[in-house]
Symmetry: C2
Subunit: 357 residues, 2 copies
């Protein structure tokens, strides 16, 4: 690349986000965006920001937003941290809690950014195989000091653990931080935030990108014991004092304030998820039970491979996500879109399935 870069650059395998192809004819079901726009109150809050607000630095602590989130979740504001998307929150948390001294444990199939952070920050890793049914095998995590991290619901499977299962892990795992990545928890899964008072090693991360339709604004949050939050803040204040801009701060607070809108959109996504699941099962797919805004489906029982269907959909401007790696090379991750997008997906899929493979 250049003889001037530091050795760490050589060890990186950067994260590759889903394709962001735009255009009127594209049915975009590959990046788990919410099919519905944010609340009109969010748009009003954005319009209310003045030029005079923007010439000033934003509140570096985003205090108003932290207080709104604390009220909403029933915790104290000192147990809340917000920053520029949950990816940044995760990156800072990895720096704050995981080290090169002991291996971080995470599921072998989970968010593909975890190993990327570990390369960047030189953190040792130990991957834990999923159960046969693709659920996370919590019993296989051992009580070593390096920390534990998993998404709940898991990505890309969409399967969720119950809060009782997570509490049982916390009862026996006391030697490092347990990071529960709840990026997709807005669509029906149980949150572990209610456990942070009892477990000083529990950190829960959230995002406004999925359930709150604000992927374009980059807002993430973390919830945990006050001391954990202070450790993340120390790292953040050693990297970027003002990660969340003034507009993102008011947009996020306005989203929290409009509970009715949030619940309405959530119900629509959940209904479409159940309809799509049924429709795919009818067509011979295996579909994992999802509590996220996407489903993970395999055409193994049809005459078609996942990679072939992925290509066919792509050529017909229906974007879904596919990874050609064990053990998920026979599966497609499909984001939940509008009813119309779902119709379009099923229509193109029916064309693919009726073609000879």
């Amino acid at each position: 690349m250049t003889r001037f870069h530091s050795p760490l650059v050589d060890r990186l395998h950067p994260y590759v986000p889903g394709e962001q192809r735009q255009g009127d004819g594209v049915t975009k079901l590959n990046t788990n965006e919410n099919p519905y726009p944010p609340s009109p109150q969010v748009m009003e809050a954005i319009s209310s920001v003045s030029g005079n607000d923007l010439r000033r630095y934003p509140d570096p602590e985003a205090s108003t937003l932290c207080e709104a989130l604390a009220d909403y979740e029933g915790v104290s504001a000192k147990q809340v941290y917000v920053s520029n998307g949950s990816d940044e929150t995760l990156g800072l948390a990895f720096m704050a809690f995981f080290t090169d001294k002991a291996a971080l444990q995470y599921p072998s199939v989970s968010y593909s950014f975890y190993p990327v952070y570990c390369e960047l920050f030189n953190i040792e890793t130990k991957t834990i195989e999923l159960n046969k049914d693709f659920s996370i095998n919590l019993d296989a995590f051992t009580n070593e000091a390096g920390g534990i991290c998993f998404p709940n619901p898991n990505a890309p499977t969409g399967m969720a653990l119950g809060v009782d299962q997570i509490e049982r892990l916390l009862q026996r795992y006391t030697s490092g931080v347990v990071l529960v990545d709840e990026a997709y928890a807005d669509f029906g899964a149980q949150s572990a935030i209610g456990l942070i008072d009892r477990y000083p090693n529990l950190l829960v991360t959230r995002t406004f990108s999925k359930g709150r339709s604000l992927a374009g604004m980059r807002i993430g949050a973390a919830f945990g014991n006050e001391a954990l939050i202070a450790a993340i803040a120390a790292v953040k204040n050693s990297f970027n004092s003002y990660p969340l801009d003034a507009i993102a701060q008011v947009a996020a607070a306005a989203s929290i304030a409009d509970e009715t809108y949030f619940q309405t959109c959530k119900a629509k996504v959940v209904n479409t998820r159940e309809r799509l699941t049924d429709a795919l099962i009818e067509r011979g797919f295996t579909v994992l039970p999802s509590l996220a805004n996407f489903i993970f489906a395999s055409p193994q029982q049809t005459d078609h491979s996942a990679s072939e269907l992925f290509e066919y959909l792509n050529q017909h401007n229906v974007l879904v996500r596919y990874w050609s790696k064990e053990p998920i090379q026979d599966w497609l991750r499909i984001s939940i879109g509008t009813e119309e997008e779902t119709d379009q997906l099923l229509s193109v899929l029916d064309m693919a399935l009726s073609a000879s493979s």
Copy 2:
């Protein structure tokens, strides 16, 4: 803090931004914000963003903005990188180019975030004393591999190096990256961006927070050889795929497009800077020759100390910046405000100077 944090948290001394006291009676001259709001075209561009835009992830590469910046600066888009404030740009560049193998050289008096990054990323440092007149002593930087970093104009002195001086450094310093931090270059200093084609180890960083009145939006940029930009991008894509939200991207591009407004605000700030400089010299201050949107002034020749004046101003709701450390403990950094704010500053200062010390 907590037994769960990683060892790096213990070595941190996070950056402390200037006080963000708000309120009608406060004359805020402590964080180098632009006294004028951003261009009306920026506000229009922000209003044009729809809810449908915000539910989607932003362009991870911010291509439209990079192209606008490339056109504006006369470089190619592959020589441009943008992210969440120039602090994030600096943080990523420190990871990409500086290491623990050889010491990074920077001036002993400069942006106080540099040593903070070095603590966070475990980078060795070597500070280079300023000349007696507080200018940066480029001759004292040695040709070792660890890299060089300095602000131009320097902060908090406001003094600028000429591009010819920087080129002479680049002609002899070939063993690491030279990072020229041009956060304050919009107010009259010469930019080194014109040198990036000729010096593969030159990285220039900029911000939209000062000259473009967008501190609240968090937009930073870097310019350099294509290989340097690729190295920063690799680190960025291993940390946060989407650092710049959709609104920040269009706001920044709209700011670039309104050159007339930019030049008008710049001229006003420069005029006020020269007026304030003269007024302080009349009152017995020593004022360094500034090409930034702040001045660095010492009351040594009056009967008053800088710390005493800082306190007096603070009690009278005029905020300036003061550091009680050698060799700048007799100096105040004063941001350039509006004409009215400058009147208010001088009025309170006159009260302080007429009081017995």
